[in-house]
Amino acid sequence: MSADTLSAPPRGIRFRGALLPLVLFALLAAVPFVAGALGQPFYVSLFTRIMIFAIAALALDLVLGYGGMVSLGHAAYMGVGAYAVGILSFHGVDSGWVQWPLGIGAAALAALVIGALSLRTRGVYFIMITLAFAQMLYYTANALSTYGGDDGMTLWGRSTFSGLVKLSDGQTFYWIVFAVLALSYLGLKRVVASKFGRVLRGCKENERRMTAIGYNTYAYKLAAFVLSGALAGLSGVLLANHTEFVSPAYMSWVRSGDLIVMVVIGGLGTLHGPIAGTVLVLVLEEVLSKLTQHWWLIFGPLIVLTVWRAKGGVVRLFGGRA
């Protein structure tokens, strides 16, 4: 055995690890066709929304699942990305070439400032402070009366890309979101296996040890936090485009909590788990909320059951290694 193949998992296990994500993406790819066959275009819209949240859940999994940082304010970065699109659109800037990078950049900047301060604390204090910052952004959005205040505001339309693609077409938009999700997943898959990712995983498991072998753990955690904020910002950009509407509700802490639920139910630190978790949560929400407005009465126990029966998330029910 040569040194460079050391400790790579055996082929069978790696294949089984790749099977579930493949099935997941195949199912998502089938949605437009199934919706077309059933004459239910609504499903395309529903699953566009689901994939957008799945991107945010992926972003959260990087810090929560791989870095052990419980951020209870990730909806805020989605909100910043969405508001960047909304505000630019309000001022007549419709170009996606401007809106998207600015949305991502603004979210990354917010994550940099918030992360730089929050990461000086630990444990429950970290949770509290990420929540507090997110609430500050939430109330700031509420106070932006020019941009609709607490009512939010409707966009002029979806981003334009020099006439190259028309996002206003539901199918086209679906495939773009699908592509963003797939690329985010594949990109993060590389990141968590990279040197950076290995350091991050080490920090989650034992930060004192990582410091003792010479890592400035703060810098690595902050980098992960910013990367995650940027990706959440991108999902916010997509969300604003999807709904053609932005509102402070995008940043509410309930939304941040939902994201944690999606990640944990799906499987922390697995990447494809949070995608599955988002599908599960949002589909259940859709189905149950049609039955009764008290759908949480059913959904709550289901969460308890899932966490209890499927420790480590639903994806771990399929094969030992997630």
């Binding site: 040569s2 040194a3 460079d4 193949t5 050391l6 400790s7 790579a8 590389r190 990141v191 296996a193 990279s194 040197k195 950076f196 990712g197 290995r198 350091v199 995983r201 080490g202 498991e205 034992n206 004192r208 040890r209 990582m210 410091t211 003792a212 072998i213 010479g214 890592y215 400035n216 753990t217 690595y220 980098a223």
Partner: protein, 252 residues
Amino acid sequence: MTLLSVERLAKSFGAVAATRDLSLEVAEGSIHAVIGPNGAGKTTLVAQLAGELRPDAGRILFDGRDVTRLPVHKRVRLGLARSFQISNTLLSFSLLENVALAVQACHGHSFRFWADASRDGRINAEALSVLQTVGLADRRDRLASEVSHGERRLLEIAIALATGPKMLLLDEPMAGVGPEEGQRMVEMLRTLRGRVTILLIEHDMDAVFRLADRITVLVYGRAISTGTPDEIRADAAVREAYLGEEDDELVG
């Protein structure tokens, strides 16, 4: 040549003075043991040397540099690495990965987001050679949570060694290991003599007297005596400090 020099170090926790006016010099290439009864302040000393605790007064010079106010990770980069009294490994990582992370730390920054770290042949090869040094090469793919306590003690030292240190601070490496594994540990540490300077904090007197070139005796945070093993054995003040059962160990 002196590699580590501690000058008039002091540290108190409230009314308790854990380190008092402590001065110490460790010669390059030597194995220097620090012994003392429970509560003598050995662990507090290690924490200050490693940079986890900031002393109230005094200076720590390492390799000619004042490191007194340097954070832990920067001291490691200068070549001052430590092992922990209670095994402090990444339990869900394989032994190879535990060591590879330490090797990776001394190959520049790790803001590399793309290439698969577990397939870095150079790092894996270096990590494997460190595992060979401590005799754990055949266990490389086991998780740290799966190996025996003694093997985890060896891993602890392998991790510190993999950072490429000039000096190792070993905080009770024999803690909790049986006589057989303790023997293995002593043999392994002996092979490191000359390659790396060692400051050894240890309760196992047998191991200390077999390994150390010089010994410093700590009592109530103060260094009461420093000398060769023979000098320490003959020192009246030391014997007084070790009244009781450990007295026999010193004589024996």
